[in-house]
C-alpha cells in the first residue's frame, strides 16, 4: 500500500480542525452542567444530601442482597 506522508499529515490536520471545535463545545457544555449542578447543590444542600443518602441506601440494599 502506497502511503504518502503528506496526505496523512493533511488528513490529520483536517481531523484536528474538525475535532477541535467539537471538543471545545463539549468542554463548554460540561463546564455549564458542572456550574448548574454545583449551584443546585449549594441552593438545596439538605435535599441533595438526603437524596444522596437515599440513593446510597438503595445501592447498599441491592449490594447486600447479592
Amino acid at each position: 500500500m502506497d502511503v504518502n506522508p503528506q496526505q496523512i499529515q493533511d488528513k490529520a490536520r483536517q481531523l484536528q480542525e474538525n475535532l477541535l471545535p467539537q471538543i471545545d463545545e463539549a468542554r463548554r457544555n460540561l463546564e455549564d452542567v458542572n456550574t448548574r449542578v454545583v449551584s443546585f447543590i449549594r441552593a438545596n444542600p439538605g435535599t441533595c444530601l438526603l437524596g444522596a443518602v437515599a440513593v446510597g441506601f438503595i445501592i447498599g440494599r441491592i449490594a447486600s442482597r447479592r
Partner: protein, 145 residues
C-alpha cells in the same frame, strides 16, 4: 402558655368544708398542669438549642458550599453503609479497585525507573561492545542485549 386559674370559690363565708377541699384539689391540679407546661416549654427550648448547637458544630451548609461533590459522595457512602452494603463483595471489589488506582502512580514511577535503568544498561553495553570491537579483539562478544 395556658395557665389554669384556680377557682376563687363562689361560696363565700357560707361555703362548707367539702367545697374548700375541692378548691384546694383544683388549685393543686392547676399548679401541676402549669409545671408540666413550663417543663415542656423548657424541654422544647433545650431541644431547639441542642439542634442549633449541632447545626453550628457540623456546619453542613458551609461544608456543602466549600466541597459540594465531596459532601455528596460522603452522603452516598453513609447511605450505602446504612443500607447494609459495608460487608459485601461489592465493597471488596470497590476497595480493590481503589487500592489499584491509588497504587497506580507508584507503580508507574517504578516502571519508568526500571525502563530508564534498562535503557541505560543497553546503552552502556552497546558502548562497551563498540569499544571492544574498535580494539580489534577477535574474541566473541558476550550476550548483547
Amino acid at each position: 402558655m395556658t395557665t389554669f386559674q384556680s377557682n376563687p370559690g363562689n361560696g363565700g363565708p357560707s361555703s362548707n368544708g367539702s367545697q374548700a377541699q375541692g378548691n384546694q384539689g383544683q388549685d393543686g391540679f392547676g399548679h401541676r398542669v402549669d409545671r408540666i407546661g413550663s417543663d415542656a416549654q423548657q424541654l422544647w427550648d433545650d431541644a431547639r438549642g441542642a439542634v442549633t448547637d449541632l447545626q453550628d458544630t457540623l456546619d453542613l451548609k458551609g461544608r456543602v458550599d466549600r466541597n459540594p461533590y465531596l459532601m455528596m459522595a460522603a452522603a452516598l457512602g453513609v447511605g450505602y453503609v446504612l443500607g447494609g452494603g459495608l460487608f459485601t463483595r461489592t465493597t471488596g471489589r470497590l476497595l480493590r479497585l481503589g487500592v489499584r488506582l491509588a497504587a497506580l502512580p507508584m507503580v508507574k514511577d517504578e516502571l519508568i525507573g526500571m525502563a530508564e535503568a534498562a535503557l541505560r544498561g543497553v546503552e552502556t553495553g552497546a558502548r562497551m561492545a563498540g569499544t571492544g570491537n574498535a580494539g580489534g579483539s577477535d574474541r566473541p562478544q558476550g550476550s548483547q542485549v
